[in-house]
């Protein structure tokens, strides 16, 4: 028996366990959902969905206990710095829960209709959500990567969930192969970060890099060069997940091929998870590399990516006729807008990022919910023409869709406008001329976006119903879905007209980024 050379730190206490209570509950429910699926007869499988929703409600209640903890704005670390809880992690975990709950709710009828009602679908969504929630609380490279992979792997499976559907399989394969490639790149980057700094704790990495960037000594050569390589690799992995140009190619195919409910989920949940990871890496661990002497920092890199992303996304969306592909490109463009807030590096920018992700979640799931409701056997309801004359067929669905679309377009008096206002405004506010030029490019982009969003309004309200949709059967809108959609639409309008409450929430995120991350220390082991 080897003698213990190192004195072990004390075991994690009950206090630490309390911090991961939401995640523990979620794990239990996700596992139980799998078991429940086996136990239920075929005709009752949809009960798994309600079970999952109840689980998410419990998770939200457990998470609500942590809201008060963040009042001090200082992060609380648990499990020796492996996890830490700050304003950002609390707010974004709520976003994930909402995204998952909406996706589950909108899936029930759709899966019934496709005869694919199985409990594993809901379990996978819950596991993916679990991954996201750990991404938001991880303070360590290993934990970050593992939870990020949990999130991604669940989504790969979900994309290929329709086993008998060729497109679904193709999309899953494409997404999986490119996805693991980018994960491998990111992992290699993370290993380089560890190699240079000798730490896996984000706070310690940040501290060490800050030392190097400020001209600290290293035994051999300039460690910043190796860090640059690491940065590029990590960024490539992250940008892949948010589908930023030039890593966006997978998005239209995966969005189109995946079951529409999965597309809805992918476009908000895992995407928000990737933004959180991006924020953790760039604004925390690698924060000192924003701008460096003699070397391009990540701000410049990200700015180029942001401009390309929104421009390519918007221009490509113009020519699309498939709604899901169109929304894929629109979501690429939105990724570009959100990156702008990170590039600007101001409070206003971070507020914009948080605000926009929160409202985007409502608007995008809303749009998809209507498209799901249009779904028919035979008529997929994915072409823009299938929306023709929706107003005369189903006025309330058309009006709801219109509100979400106006929100995505960023028309004033919708929440989408406020988000864009913060994001674009933060560029001008930063006071750097080159960012002002980017703001102008962003504004021009918004004009292009208006064009293709207006196509939705045009199809629904201005065009006559197409002849070939012969069925007058009602839309697949369950009362619960209808109520959720109505509430989402009211929220989109309410936060467009009176955004202050949501800005206060976004400000919690911004504060936890600026006050804590700017110091880039203090999150060490305790």
């Amino acid at each position: 028996m080897l003698p213990l050379l190192v004195e072990l730190p004390p075991l994690p206490t009950l206090r630490d366990t309390a911090f991961i209570m939401p995640e523990i509950i979620l794990t239990l429910f996700a596992g139980a959902a799998l078991v429940l699926d086996v136990a239920l007869p075929r005709s009752k499988k949809h009960l798994t969905a309600y079970f999952s929703l109840i689980g998410l409600a419990f998770v939200a209640i457990a998470l609500a206990q942590q809201v008060a903890m963040t009042a001090s704005l200082l992060p609380i670390s648990a499990f020796y710095g492996m996890l830490f809880i700050d304003g950002l992690s609390v707010v974004f975990r709520f976003v994930f829960i909402v995204a998952a709950a909406f996706s589950i709710l909108y899936s029930i009828k759709y899966l019934e209709f496709e005869r694919e009602q199985r409990g594993e679908y809901y379990a996978l969504i819950l596991f993916s959500t679990l991954g996201m929630m750990f991404v938001a609380t991880s303070g360590d490279l290993i934990a970050l990567f593992v939870s990020f992979e949990l999130m991604s792997l669940s989504v790969y499976v979900l994309v290929g969930y329709f086993k008998r559907d060729k497109r679904s399989n193709e999309a899953a394969m494409k997404y999986f192969l490119t996805g693991i490639f980018s994960s491998a790149l990111m992992l290699y980057g993370l290993s380089l970060v560890y190699g240079v700094t000798g730490h896996t704790n984000l706070g310690l990495i940040s501290e060490t890099i800050a030392g190097y960037v400020q001209g600290g000594t290293a035994e051999s050569g300039d460690p910043r060069l190796l860090l640059m390589v690491a940065l590029v690799l990590v960024a490539a992995g992250l940008l892949f997940k948010i589908a930023a140009v030039p890593f966006h190619m997978w998005a239209p195919d995966a969005y189109e091929g995946a079951p529409t409910t999965v597309t809805a989920f992918m476009s908000v949940g895992p995407k928000a998870g990737a933004y959180v990871l991006l924020a953790r890496m760039l604004l925390f661990a690698l924060a000192p590399m924003r701008e460096m002497e003699n070397l391009p920092g990540w701000a410049a890199l990200l700015a180029v990516v942001a401009v390309l992303t929104m421009t390519v996304g918007n221009l490509a969306a113009v020519t699309q006729d498939n709604v899901k592909r169109l929304l894929a490109y629109s979501s690429i463009a939105h990724a570009g807008y959100i990156l702008l807030g990170i590039v600007s590096g101001t409070d206003m920018g971070y507020q914009g990022v948080a605000f926009h992700i929160m409202t985007y979640t409502l608007m995008n799931t809303g749009v998809f919910a209507i498209i799901i409701a249009l779904h028919r056997q035979g008529v997929i309801g994915e072409n823009l023409n299938d929306l023709n004359g929706l107003f005369s067929r189903a006025p309330s669905a058309a009006v709801l869709m219109l509100i979400f679309i106006l929100g995505l377009a960023g028309i004033p008096s919708t929440a989408g406008f406020v988000g864009k206002f913060f994001l674009f405004g933060s560029l001008i506010q930063s006071g750097k001329p080159w960012l002002t030029y980017i703001a102008i490019i962003a504004v021009l982009n918004a004009v292009v976006a208006f064009y293709y969003y207006a196509r939705f309004a045009r199809a629904m309200f201005l065009n006559a119903p197409s002849e070939n949709i012969a069925d007058a059967s009602p839309l697949l809108l369950a009362p619960s879905v209808r109520i959720t959609l109505t509430l989402s639409a009211i929220a989109v309008l309410f936060f467009g007209i009176y955004p202050q409450p949501l800005i206060n929430v976004a400000d919690i995120v911004a504060q936890s980024i600026t006050t804590v991350y700017a110091q880039s220390s203090g999150i060490a082991l305790r």
């Binding site: 005369s392 028309i411 004033p412 006071g431 002002t436 208006f450 309200f461 202050q500």
Partner: protein, 496 residues
């Protein structure tokens, strides 16, 4: 507190909105009930505005007529509304035209009262634009106006409405997004210089010199882009004729009567108010654009074979006079511009509503399809002739006063431009009277039998025609309340 002077302004914006919301709840109701309901709301709004204007006429700068409450404190955005002599006639115009347009919409048939709901939204947005004193508040209303306009034209318009409305939408949005960039530019420029981040117009006007000159230069063009598209001014006018022609005619009356005034009003209050020096620097270019608009509009109107397109180009020409007055930077010019905005709003709306009545009878607005109407429709003919004369600027009508004052203003600083613009006045007499002659008189009297205007139609137009004469005979009544509200920045040469 619900009925103090400040909340009166909020009610002015909110009343049509409340009406629209109620229509949402009542979607199942019949068209007729929806129409009656919307009309009641619009009339109530008109009464409210009328009460407000009496108060404003009595005391031109009523300090109580202000609402200023924090809206988005994080950014320094305030919910700031105020009424003064500049906004007075335009809110009255808007709230007057909306119920009249509703009255004249008998030919619009839909299954649901969405049409009236959109008209109410449109009214609310317009009133908001004319009252807003905070740049974000202003911008929000500015854009809100576009949405009902888009659907009103797109859903109830003519044959080519889809293409027209897309063009209209993209033009307007491009302009207003540039304005948004300029608004943020001003905000940041002012905040960086003074440490106080605000969108409040009065503060920004007072402290305009602390903002770096370069910033202000491009901000001015951002604002100008949005305003010139909306007015419209040559060369940004190409959406106008298509849009007016394809819009349902009562909506076209609102577009040209009220919506186009957004641009000219904002030009005086924000364009000239915030950037007087830059506006003056570019005055020659602006005067040129105004004169080109006047002449181009008039010449194009001469060539039109469709009544609605003719009126659209006539609008381009008339609003050129308003721009001419504004950029003359003289007391006469600016007062004339303010007067002419109201005058043109009344006249052009009346003409469009009259055309709507022809369209309801004959399903066409082509000039060639009419003739000899005077025999069958004497009441119609009388109103049409008076409105045409007013639009052509014949003395004792409102058109004369407006054009005379703007020309007078322009003449004192740039006689060449004034002479050229006066040519537009002559042309306007030619095309308007030709149009009136070809529809009302001529040989083909037997070609067209139609009932004369019923009481509802008469009620929609008669008040406007009466106003044309009142404004023409007693212009002082309308000029006096405006005078003290003209921003001092807008006047370089005052009346000696």
């Amino acid at each position: 507190m619900l009925l103090d002077a400040g909340s009166l302004l909020v009610w002015l914006v909110a009343l049509p909105l409340v009406g629209a919301l109620a229509l949402v709840v009542l979607t199942a109701t019949s068209m007729e009930l929806g129409r009656r309901y919307a009309l009641t709301t619009a009339l109530a709004a008109a009464l409210l505005t009328f009460g407000l204007s009496l108060r404003l006429i009595a005391r031109h700068a009523d300090p109580a007529l202000v609402v200023n409450a924090p809206w988005i404190p994080t950014l320094g955005v305030n919910w700031h509304l105020a009424a003064d002599g500049l906004s007075l006639w335009l809110i009255l115009l808007t709230t007057l035209l909306t119920p009249l347009a509703m009255l004249a919409s008998a030919a619009i048939v839909t299954r649901r009262p969405a049409y009236f709901l959109l008209l109410l939204l449109f009214e609310s947005g317009l009133v908001g634009v004319f009252l807003a004193r905070d740049l974000v508040t202003f911008y929000v209303f500015w854009e809100v106006v576009l949405i009902p306009a888009y659907f009103l034209i797109g859903m109830w318009g003519g044959e080519n409405r889809r293409a027209a409305v897309t063009k209209f939408f993209l033009y307007t949005v491009a302009g207003s997004l540039l304005m948004l960039a300029a608004i943020i530019g001003l905000y940041v420029g002012h905040g960086a210089a003074t440490g106080r981040y605000t969108f409040d117009v009065e503060t920004l006007v007072a402290a305009r010199n602390v903002i770096p000159a370069e910033t202000r230069q491009w901000c001015f063009w951002g604002f100008a882009a949005a305003f010139f598209v909306k007015i419209p001014l040559f060369p940004l006018h190409t959406w106008q004729a298509d849009t007016y022609a394809e819009a349902p005619t009562p909506v076209a009356a609102l577009l040209s009567g009220a919506m186009s005034k957004m641009g000219t009003y904002a030009l005086v209050r924000f364009g000239v108010g915030l950037f007087p020096d830059i506006a003056r620097e570019w005055a020659t270019l602006m005067l040129t654009l105004a004169v080109v608009s006047i002449l181009h509009g008039a010449l194009a109107a001469l060539a039109q074979t469709d009544l609605k397109r003719l009126l659209a180009y006539s609008s381009l020409s008339h609003l050129g006079f308003v721009t001419l007055g504004v950029f003359s930077f003289t007391t006469y010019g600016v007062e004339g511009a303010m007067f002419h905005m109201a005058a043109h709003g009344v006249t052009t709306a009346a003409l469009f509503l009259l055309v709507a009545m022809l369209e309801a009878r004959r399903k066409t607005t082509a000039l060639a399809d009419f003739g000899g109407l005077a025999g069958a429709m004497p009441r119609f003919a009388f109103l049409m002739v008076v409105a045409s004369l007013a639009s052509a600027g014949v003395p004792l009508t409102n058109g004369f006063i407006g054009e005379f004052l703007t020309l007078l203003g322009a003449f004192t600083v740039a006689p060449g431009f004034a002479v050229a613009a006066a040519g537009g006045m002559i042309l306007s007499a030619v095309y308007l009277l030709t149009a009136a002659r070809r529809t009302l008189f001529g040989c083909s009297a037997s070609l067209f039998e139609a009932p004369d205007m019923d009481w509802r139609e008469t009620l929609a137009v008669a008040p406007l025609v009466a106003l044309m004469l009142v404004m023409g005979v007693a212009p002082q009544l309308f000029l006096r309340p405006t005078r003290p509200a003209v921003p001092p920045e807008a006047v370089a040469v005052s009346r000696s």
